[in-house]
Structures are given as structure tokens and as C-alpha cells.
Symmetry: C2
Subunit: 232 residues, 2 copies
Amino acid sequence: MSLDKIKVIAFDADDTLWENEPIFKSAIEAFCSLMAPYGAAEQCEQGLYAVQMKNLPLYGYGIKAFTLSLIEAAMTLSNHQVSQRTVSEIMDIGQFMLEADNPILPGVKQTLEALTQNYRLVMATKGDLLDQERKLIRSGLEGYFHHIEIMSNKFSSNYKKLVTHLDLAPDAFLMVGNSVKSDVLPVLDIGGHAVHIPFHTTWEHEHAEIPSAHAQFRSLNDISELLPLLGV
Amino acid sequence: MSLDKIKVIAFDADDTLWENEPIFKSAIEAFCSLMAPYGAAEQCEQGLYAVQMKNLPLYGYGIKAFTLSLIEAAMTLSNHQVSQRTVSEIMDIGQFMLEADNPILPGVKQTLEALTQNYRLVMATKGDLLDQERKLIRSGLEGYFHHIEIMSNKFSSNYKKLVTHLDLAPDAFLMVGNSVKSDVLPVLDIGGHAVHIPFHTTWEHEHAEIPSAHAQFRSLNDISELLPLLGV
């Protein structure tokens, strides 16, 4: 891909800069243990996912949305038999998630440090405003970013707005992230560049086919491979 | 106040551009009816407010945060005696709120229409990203705004970032809103201008003393009074 024109590099945050999905995985495990009297773990996970998908247009992403879906799923899965104590325990799972640490992924700090010399860096993430701001502040990475964009969705239209807001031609924009569906396909769609860095675990909702060959797309194993790719 | 330097006018959204607090008031009434077996309405409202204030740093603003606090308050107020059906009914209150209409306040459209000829207009609101975007799109007012800022908080530091982001001197910035605490005091604090337009009902958390006399502050009865104030 021709990378000469790139001026702005935007990074997804969850599972690109820091671990996040493992917190959700653990929460789902804890939830399905609480739900064990009403069915097998697999059934619980499927029931929860169905509730999450139903609520997505109304609730959006993030831990508060997830917690509300946990409570609703508990009612559905138990046929309203779940105890009030269990409801309180489910609320505690949500609060625990909000306070959990998101460890920075290997190579992130050094890569941002090197790239910030030559590019304007942006963080572009979905999710809850307050959650994402809190994670960013805790991460100590805030100083590397020229702009923080917290998006309700990562559709092509959202990226188009971002690129316009940054006063950029689409091919001056490179997006880096772990989700093909959210960080790659919509960016290629508007004429931007995209780098996919897979994380070991991906939420079912974010699954998508990797583009087979595209002049503006690359897949890397590790964020630090961005430096040789960009000749930094 | 000397208004000649003003280039950007930012508007709070909830209860400044459209009705919002009445939706919360109705929800609290509905909730306290459900809680009637466990105590008087006044006690219920106080208990709920205490839970909301405890959760504010973790949950932030918005309807999802409010719904989670309703459920927690139901557990506390009923000493975990509240039925599972009631928990589901409380979740329904939250979903109903997310889908509720927010009627545009009188004079808003005409005022924005007139101001947009001479100023850059910004919407600056607290709350949930997805909720606020949804309300804006439904309102049909989106086209008047050059920039939309959805903020996790409205502290001086948040306004300082906004003014920097807009590449403005603080005294080129005028904030218009119904909350003295969120829309007036922090803006005066950073050297901006502020106009207070009271709404007939204000959330307890937003109460603050109106500044007695300040060169960069004015109180108006109605948004359309902005036009003669600014000589438009």
C-alpha cells in the first residue's frame, strides 16, 4: 500500500491499545455461573447474546448497556425465578467491570512514542463516554493523542464525519484496530487505509471476513510492526 | 456585557433546546408508585437520589446510568423484597425513557436559524453518547450545528478543552443553558460568556446559586431573547 500520504493514524482502543474483551469474557463466565440453576453455560451465553443484540440499537455499547442486558437475560433465562440477591450480584459484576484494570498491550507505548514524531495520532473508539475516558486517563497514554473520538458506532458514516472533522483526505487517514468489522471494512469503504492487528479473542458481534487483497489494507501480528511498515 | 468578540455560541441541549427533565420526573413518579409498598414517595425519592449520587462518579449521566440506579434503589428500599416482575417493570421504565420524545422548546428553531447566519453554533451536552445523538437526529436541529460536543462532565477543565479544540479565545465563546452549575459557573471560570435560561424544573443535583453580578453573565427568560441581546 502507498503510505506516503498518511498524515493521521487513528487507533482503536479496546483490545488494540489495552485489554478489554477478557473483562467481558470473565463477566459472562461469572454471570453464567450464577445462572447455572436454570441451564447450561452454552445456553446462558446464547440467551445473553440474543438479549444484547436486541438491545444494541437502544442501548449501544459499553458496560452499562451490558449490565442492563445481564439483568434482562437473568429474568428471561430463569423465567423470573432468579433471586433478588442474584440481581444484586449481577449489578456488582457491572460495577466490578467499571473499576477493572485494562492492561496496556505489549509494544503500545514505544510504538506511539515513535509514531507521534511523524504523525498526528488519534484515538477512535466505540463505547461509553465516561468508561473510555477513564480507561484513557488510567492508561497514561493520553499525551500521545492529538484528538480523542468516542463514537456511538463505527459505520462508514461515522468515519466520514471523523475524517471531515480532522480536515483530511480519506487516503491521508490510517485506522489501526483489532476488529475487521469496525476498524477495517468501513474505513476501506470511505477510501482510507486500514491495518488489522488481531487480538486473541473477539466478541462474536465483531466477527467479519478479512479482506483478501486490498491496496489499502494490511494485517500485522503486533502493533510494533507498524514502525517498519511506515518506515519509522 | 461586551459581546462583540463572540464567535461561537454553544447550547446545552436537555431543557435548553428540548424538554428532558419532565421525562425523568415522570420516571421517578412511576418508580415510586412501584415502590409504594415499601415506603412513602418522599422517602423513595430521597433513597433514589442517594443511590444516584453514590453511583455518579462510576456511572456518569444518562438514562442507562439512571436505570441501573433505579434497580439498585429498588433493592435497597425494599430490603431485597421487591419482586422480579417489578425489576422487569423498572427496566421497562428505562427503555420507555430511551424511546420517549423530547419536544423542542418554543422559539428554539427560529433562534438557531437567525444566529447561524452570524455565528458558529455548537451543541455542548452531558449524558450518554447514543442517547444524545438520537435526540439530536430526532430533533431535526442537527443542521444548525457546526460541532457537537458530548461531554462526560461540564467542569471548567472540560470547557477549557472544548474552547482549545475550537481554536478560540475564551471570551469569543458564549455558552447558553438552563443549569447554573453546569452551563454558567464553569464557563465564567475559564473567562467565557454565559447566558442562563431557566427551565421550569431542575434536577436537584444541578442546583446552584445564580451569580449576582458578572460582566460576562446574563439571565434571560426565553431563548429568543438572545436575538435582541446579540443585536441580531
